[in-house]
Subunit: 497 residues, 2 copies
C-alpha cells in the first residue's frame, strides 16, 4: 500500500507539471501580449522537458514494475498501474532532446501558422510544417505500429484506433451520408437569415454563460474567455476552462462554440478529484471526449426541445432581432445543411466530409506520399470532389485549422468518431432516462448530466473505449445510430420521404 | 566560451521554471476560479521543488566553479558568474528538510494570519508566527551574518544592507521627518473630497491605461488586470504584467496603484532580453525596484506638472465630477498629509513612520529581544509614539500586513529605501535632463524613461546598489534628497515658512 501511495504521489507530480504547461498554453491563447511569444515558447519547452524527465524517471519505472505484480491491489488500482505502465513505456521511447525539439518546433509552427493565416500565405507556414511533419514521421517510427505509420498517430488520441477500421467507418460515411446529403440538396432550402443579424457581443457572452450554467457547468470550477479558436483546458477537475468566439453578425458562432466546449468541460469537471493525476482521473480518449461535446452541441443543442425552452429567453435578450421569428424558424436556421468551406462552421452532416478529407490527407502525409508544398492543391481538389466547393484562398482552405500547427495529426478523425458515439449514447439515454426530452424542454438538463456522470465521466480511463461503449450501450461503436438520428431529424426538416 | 554558453542555458532553464511559477501565481490572483485553490497550491509547490532541484544541481555548481577562475571572460561575464555563484551557494546551504519545513510553516502561518485578521484575534496567529520566527532565526544562522542576525534577512531583499546603516537612515527620519510632519499637522488641513465621488469602473481602468502608455509602458509586452492587492509580475522583459485595484467611490486607489506598478513594470521591461535568466537580466534589489515605482508614483505622479497635463483629460472623462474643480484642488487632495492606521493608505511622508515601526520591531524580534505574544502591545505603543494614533484593533494594527505571515522579515525597509533612492535619482534627473518638468507638463515622459533606462534599468544586477547609486548620482544613498524634496513640496502645499 505504501508503494501504491508512492506511485500516486509521483503521478500527481507529473500531472502538476502537465497542468502547469496547460496554464501557460491557456494564457498564451487568451491573454498573452504578443511580444511574449518567443520566451513563452521556451518556457513551455523547458517544462515539457521536465515533464518528460519526471515521466520517464527510472525509479518510477521500477516502482511500476513492482506494482504490476502486486496481487494485493484491487481492480481499479491494477487498471491504473496497467495504464500508467503503458504510458511510461511510450514516454521512455523518446529522448529528452526529441521531446524538447518537438515542443519548440510546435511553438514555432503555431506562430508561423498564425502569421500565414493572417496574411493568407501558405508559404509562411510551409517550412515549419515540413519540419514538424518530418519530426512526426520520426515519432511514428519511435512509437511503432503494425499496419500503417498513421496508426501510431491515431493511437495518441484514440487508443486502439487503426487506419483499417477508420477506412471502414468512412466508407459508411461515403456510402450512406453522401447520398442522403444529395437528397437534401435537391429539397427546398431553409433559411438562416435569423442568425445573420447584429447581436451585441457582451449580451451574447452573457447568454452563453446562462446556457453553460443550465448544462451544469460549474463556474466556481472554471471560467469562459474569448479566443480566436475555442477550446477547453483542464488544470484539475476543479479548474476546467472553456473559451468561445463571438461574431456580432452571426449568432450561431458563439452558440455552438460555447455549448460544444461546455460538453467537453462537463466531462472534465465530472472526473473525480480524488483520482487527480491517475489514469482513473483522466479522460478516456479524444473520441469519447468529443462524444460529450457533440452530444451537447448536436443531440441536445440543435434539438427543437432544447430551444422550446431557451428561445424565449433569447428573444427577451434580443427582442428587436428575434421577435419577428418563432422557434421553428430558429430551429431550421440552425440545422441548415449546406456544403461549406470551413469545418467549424459546417452543419452536422457535411461536417464529416471535412473530417474525411483531413483523414485522407493526413494518412498519406504521414506515410510520406504527399509533400507539404502540395497541400493547398490537394486540399482544394478534395473540397471540389466531396463538397463541390471552390476554395478561394488558403486561409479559408488548408490554413483554416490550428491542428497541424500543433503537431496534431490523427486528431481530426476523433471528431467524427465522437459524433457517432454521441448518437449511440444519446439513443441509449433516451431509452434509460424517463421523459428525457420533456425534461430538456423544461430546461432541466440535470437528469442527462447525472446519467453521463454515472455512465461515462466518473470512470475516467478505467475502461477502454470499446469496453465502455459496450458497457453503456450493449454494443461496439456502430455508424447506424448516427445515420438513424440524421435520417429521422433531417427527413422531417427537409420533408423527404 | 562553450562553458559560458552552457552556464547561460542552465540559467535560462532556472528562469523558465521561476517565471512559470509566476504565471501560475498571476492567474491565481487574477482569474482563477475559487475551487481551484488546493490543486493550484500543489502545482506551485511541485514547480518550486523542481526549481530548487535545478538551482542546486551539482553539475551546475561545478560549472560555476570552473568559470569562476576563467580569465578569458569579460567583466560583465565575470559579474554574472560571481552573482550566480553567490546565489548557488545560498541555495545549497539549506537542507531539503529545512526548505520543506519552512515552506510548510509559511503556508500554515498564512492561513492562521488570514483567520486571525478576519476574526481580529492575534492569538490565532501567535503560535504559528512563533514557529516561523524560530525558523527564521535558524535561517539567519545558516545564512550567516557579521554584526546582527537581522542583516541576514535584510540581505535576502537588499544585498549589502545592514542594521547599522538602516539605524543611521531611520535616525534621520526620526530627527527630520517627525518635526516636519508635526509642523504640517498644525497647519490648515487640505481637503480630498474631490477623490471621494462616484467614478465608473471601466472609465477609471481605461484612463490608467492611457497613463501607463504615456509613461512608456509597452502593452505589447504586458497587460493590466484587476486584483485585490496590486502587483507587478514578470515572465520575461517581453511580458511584464501589472494589476491594479478599483474603488468606484475613491479615485485615488486606482491612480497610484497603476502608476506605482507601472514604475515597477518599466524597470522590468527595461531589462535586456538578451540577458534573460542571467543576473545582468534581473532587477538589482527590492530597494532599487521600489525606487522606480516610487519615482513614478510620487516624484512624477503626485507632482503638479504631471497633472497640469493629465487633469484636463480626466475632466473630459468625468466632467460631472471634476469640472467644478481645478487642478490645484486635485493636487492638494492627492497630497494630503495625515497620520493614519494603515500603511498602504498612508501619504508619502507619514508612510515612513509605518516602515520605521516595522523595522524597529523586526530587528528585535529576529534578535530574540521581543516575544511574539508582546507584539500587539509593542505595536500599539509605537503607533501612539510616532503617529499619535490609537490602534483600535489588531486587524487594523499588528495584523494589517501579509508580510510576516509569508516569512518576509527585512522586506519593509526596502519600501523606505526605495523612496529615498527615488528622491535622489529624481534630483539627479532634474539636473541632467533639459527641461524635464516642462516635458512632463507637455505629457512627454520619454526623456525621463530614456534616462532611467540608460542609467539604471539596462544594467540589471551588474552593479551593487551602492555602486549604482554613486555611478548615477555621485554619492551614496543620502536621506537629505528626500527631505529636501519633501520640504520644498509640502512647505508650499501647507504654506509653511
Amino acid at each position: 500500500m505504501e508503494k501504491y501511495e508512492e506511485y500516486k504521489s509521483h503521478c500527481q507530480k507529473i500531472a502538476d507539471i502537465e497542468h502547469s504547461i496547460s496554464i501557460l498554453n491557456w494564457d498564451q491563447e487568451v491573454y498573452m501580449p504578443e511580444k511574449s511569444a518567443a520566451r513563452r515558447a521556451q518556457q513551455i519547452a523547458t517544462l515539457s522537458g521536465l515533464h518528460h524527465q519526471v515521466s520517464t524517471d527510472k525509479n518510477y519505472g521500477k516502482l511500476l514494475n513492482k506494482l504490476s505484480s502486486d496481487s494485493s491491489l484491487n481492480e481499479e488500482q491494477k487498471r491504473n498501474i496497467k495504464e500508467s505502465t503503458k504510458e511510461f513505456e511510450r514516454n521512455t521511447k523518446f529522448s529528452e532532446e526529441f521531446v524538447t525539439k518537438m515542443s519548440k518546433t510546435i511553438s514555432e509552427s503555431f506562430i508561423a501558422w498564425q502569421k500565414a493565416k493572417q496574411k493568407d500565405d501558405f508559404s509562411l507556414f510551409a517550412p515549419k510544417l515540413k519540419e514538424l511533419v518530418t519530426l512526426k514521421r520520426e515519432e511514428c517510427e519511435i512509437l511503432g505500429y503494425e499496419a500503417h505509420p498513421y496508426d501510431a498517430q491515431l493511437n495518441l488520441y484514440e487508443p486502439g484506433a487503426t487506419v483499417k477500421e477508420l477506412d471502414f467507418l468512412f466508407d459508411d460515411v461515403k456510402n450512406q451520408l453522401v447520398d442522403f446529403v444529395a437528397q437534401i440538396a435537391k429539397a427546398a432550402q431553409n433559411d438562416d437569415s435569423i442568425m445573420l443579424q447584429y447581436f451585441e457581443k457582451s449580451k451574447q457572452v452573457d447568454f452563453t454563460e446562462e446556457l453553460l450554467s443550465q448544462m451544469g457547468y460549474d463556474f466556481k470550477a472554471g471560467r469562459q474567455d474569448i479566443s480566436s479558436h475555442p477550446f477547453t483546458t483542464t488544470f484539475s477537475s476543479k479548474d476546467v476552462r472553456v473559451t468561445t468566439r463571438v461574431n456580432e453578425n452571426d449568432l450561431s458562432e458563439i452558440l455552438w462554440s460555447s455549448i460544444h466546449e461546455g460538453g467537453h468541460a462537463l466531462y472534465e469537471q465530472g472526473l473525480l478529484d480524488e483520482n487527480y493525476g491517475l489514469p482513473a482521473g483522466s479522460y478516456l480518449s479524444l473520441g469519447i471526449h468529443e462524444s460529450q461535446s457533440r452530444l451537447y452541441e448536436n443531440n441536445v443543442g440543435r434539438n427543437i426541445v432544447y430551444w422550446n425552452h431557451n428561445f424565449k429567453r433569447l428573444q427577451e435578450i434580443f427582442p428587436e432581432q428575434l421577435e419577428p421569428f418563432n422557434v421553428d424558424d430558429f430551429y431550421k436556421a440552425m440545422n441548415l445543411v449546406k456544403p461549406s468551406l470551413i469545418r467549424t462552421n459546417a452543419d452536422e452532416l457535411t461536417y464529416h466530409f471535412h473530417v474525411l478529407i483531413r483523414f485522407e490527407i493526413e494518412k498519406e502525409l504521414i506515410a510520406g506520399n504527399i509533400k507539404v508544398e502540395d497541400l493547398p492543391s490537394i486540399w482544394n481538389k478534395k473540397y471540389k470532389d466531396y463538397l463541390n466547393i471552390d476554395v478561394p484562398s488558403d486561409s479559408k482552405g488548408v490554413l483554416q485549422d490550428i491542428h497541424w500547427s500543433h503537431g496534431s495529426f490523427g486528431y481530426f478523425p476523433t471528431y467524427s468518431i465522437g459524433s457517432f458515439y454521441a448518437a449511440q449514447f444519446y439513443h441509449q439515454a433516451l431509452k434509460e432516462i424517463p421523459n428525457l426530452e420533456n425534461q430538456i424542454e423544461n430546461g432541466n438538463l440535470n437528469p442527462l448530466l447525472d446519467w453521463l456522470r454515472n455512465k461515462i465521466h466518473q470512470h475516467g480511463r478505467l475502461f477502454a473505449a470499446e469496453e465502455l461503449c459496450i458497457k453503456v450501450t450493449g454494443e461496439k461503436l456502430n455508424f447506424k445510430y448516427f445515420m438513424k438520428y440524421a435520417k429521422n431529424k433531417y427527413s422531417k426538416l427537409y420533408q423527404l420521404n
